[in-house]
């Protein structure tokens, strides 16, 4: 990997770290949230951007992490760290099971199957309301939102933990897509038949990619529950699957920094529009249409015209 690639990504990590002491309170909170959501988007990007698996159901992995963590904290009174791992494990398991089934299909069928699985998961949360508190969701107990003496609900630790999760995921993704495994994922995205006839078990690698992708998404959901303290069914809804797609498409699918760019841009766009109207999803809809029409490669993708090997 070139020095330029490293300096861009490490520079971004350093910049976000420094912003902890620079940003005014409101934007400090927004960026903390965006970093966690960007981790979700990076997870989605591994499946969609790098492997070409267009899933419409990634909210279920995010929510599996969120509920795995939240429910363990709520019902079993687990601490923050075991609860986070419970969420991660739930997401990995769900990704493995749904992947084994959904990856028997491709293209449009894959989109619909993932959409349906996610819908069943969402409805399952509503149906088992005794445990999950249904539509209302629940607040994660404060006892679970501490690590040693640090309260995760405080602005400073919250930002730094979000930053750490983001940084680890970004560097991890960067490493992954430059490693032989990641290169094969790109090859599958470009031409699966060819990749198979080079001797790669594409089915197993797609499953691997989906499990990694689901795991990262679940890690984000689990962290979201701990850092922001609320677990709710809306995070499992179709809308959040669409958000992941939107953030990645906007930022640039198949680029490492794209998900952050897309999430940040969309978050502020929606944030600004909610001041004007309740119909903030209108913005999301318009952006989606414009993107598919005029900028299918996204913001970072457009940047690649200039910086050709941008990972």
């Amino acid at each position: 990997m070139s020095r330029r690639d490293w300096s861009l990504h490490l520079g971004l990590v350093a910049l976000l770290f420094a912003l902890n002491w620079i940003l005014p309170a409101y934007h400090h909170g927004v960026v903390a949230r965006v970093m966690v959501l960007a981790v979700f988007a990076m997870g989605y990007n591994v499946a969609f951007g790098y492997t070409g698996l267009l899933s419409l159901g990634h909210a279920m992995y995010f929510a599996a992490g969120m509920y795995g963590t939240g429910l363990v904290a709520l019902h079993l009174e687990a601490g923050a760290i075991p609860a986070w791992f419970a969420g991660l494990g739930a997401g990995l398991l769900l990704a493995l099971v749904t992947g084994l089934l959904a990856l028997r299909t491709a293209g449009v069928s894959f989109m619909i199957v993932t959409l349906m699985f996610a819908q069943a998961f969402y409805l399952g949360i509503l149906y088992f309301g005794d445990i999950t508190h249904g539509d209302d969701g629940f607040v994660v107990p404060n006892a679970a939102r501490r690590v040693a003496e640090v309260a995760l609900s405080d602005a400073g630790p919250r930002y730094l933990i979000g930053w750490a999760l983001f940084s680890v995921t970004m560097i991890g993704t960067l490493w992954l897509v430059r490693a032989p495994f990641g290169r094969v994922l790109v090859a599958i995205r470009e031409n699966e038949d060819r990749a198979r006839l080079l001797g790669y078990d594409t089915g197993r690698r797609k499953l691997g990619a989906l499990v990694i992708s689901g795991g990262i998404s679940a890690g984000a959901g689990a962290a979201y529950a701990l850092l922001f303290g609320y677990v709710g069914a809306s995070f499992a809804g179709v809308q959040y699957s669409i958000f992941a797609l939107l953030w990645v498409l906007l930022g640039g699918a198949g680029t490492v920094i794209g998900p952050l760019v897309g999430t940040l841009f969309m978050y502020y766009l929606v944030d600004l529009s909610t001041e004007v109207t309740d119909a903030y999803m209108l913005i999301a809809g318009i952006v989606l249409i414009l993107l598919t029409l005029f900028m299918p490669r996204g913001i970072t993708g457009a940047l690649r015209q200039v910086w050709r090997d941008l990972p």
Binding site: A102, M116, Q119, V238, A279, G285, L288, P296
Partner: protein, 308 residues
Amino acid sequence: MEFGPYLLLACLEGAVLAAVLALMASGLSLVFGVMRVVNVAHGEFYMLGAVAAWAVTSMLGAGAVANFVAALVIAPLAVGLLAAAADMTILKRLEYDPERTIVATIGLLYVIQQLTLMTYGADARPVVAPFNSRIALPWVEWGENGLSLYYPWGLSTTSYKLFVIVAAVVLITGLRLFMAHSRAGLIMRATQLDGEMATAFGVPVERVYAIVFGAGAALAALAGVLIVPIQQAHYLMGGDALLLSFIVVIIGGLGSLTGTVVAAILIGMSDGIISVFFSPTLAKIIATLVVALVLVFRPQGLFGAKDR
């Protein structure tokens, strides 16, 4: 109520749902069959049909029947034109690429839904049915004098609900005859088989696509108009309807009209029955999982013939 009458009631409710669903899903199936694209905004066209029906009836202010007839004509026409316009401005430029079309129609879904929220508002509003007399239904009983008919309390339907069922049957039969025998239907089927070939034979494929997309949306809008006297019009009503018609189209086999109708009856009836006896949420969970598994293990649908 006893089990028997209760079941009959559930079947009747199911049949109404099946009728509306069959109409709506035929639209989705028609679009997929001819254009090979999945229209995720289909539920919003259904919602627009219902909202337009409300708008037409409240603006016209004539008698209930005249209002309703006007809505039945104007709403599908307006929604169809809107959809055709969306096809020409958006889908055509994407060259009907299956995946990009899905993403763009997701965008369209939110745009339509949110614009409706901004103009029509978040309230659910009713439309008065053109006629709505209650029809009590009899049930048989084995009494002291052998079999006898009686009218259990609560076992009833309305003339309007029966009308919806009949209307759906007539409309779908008409659509089938149209596709099978008319020249326009022939052109659509030719386009479905091979777009390039159709172009070579001078079929204006782009215009056919715009018309088909518009017609599919009009069918959804028609379903919306029919349902609105039973269910009120609401800007979020498209979501569930979309999900159900997806389920119907996939179980029936993508693009097969007969399969769609059979599946609509199956899903409508079972949804009605499961919802009456169990929780509607559970019914939906089962239905979505069935769809996913059908696509995984029997991609041609339960009733569709295997490809090649």
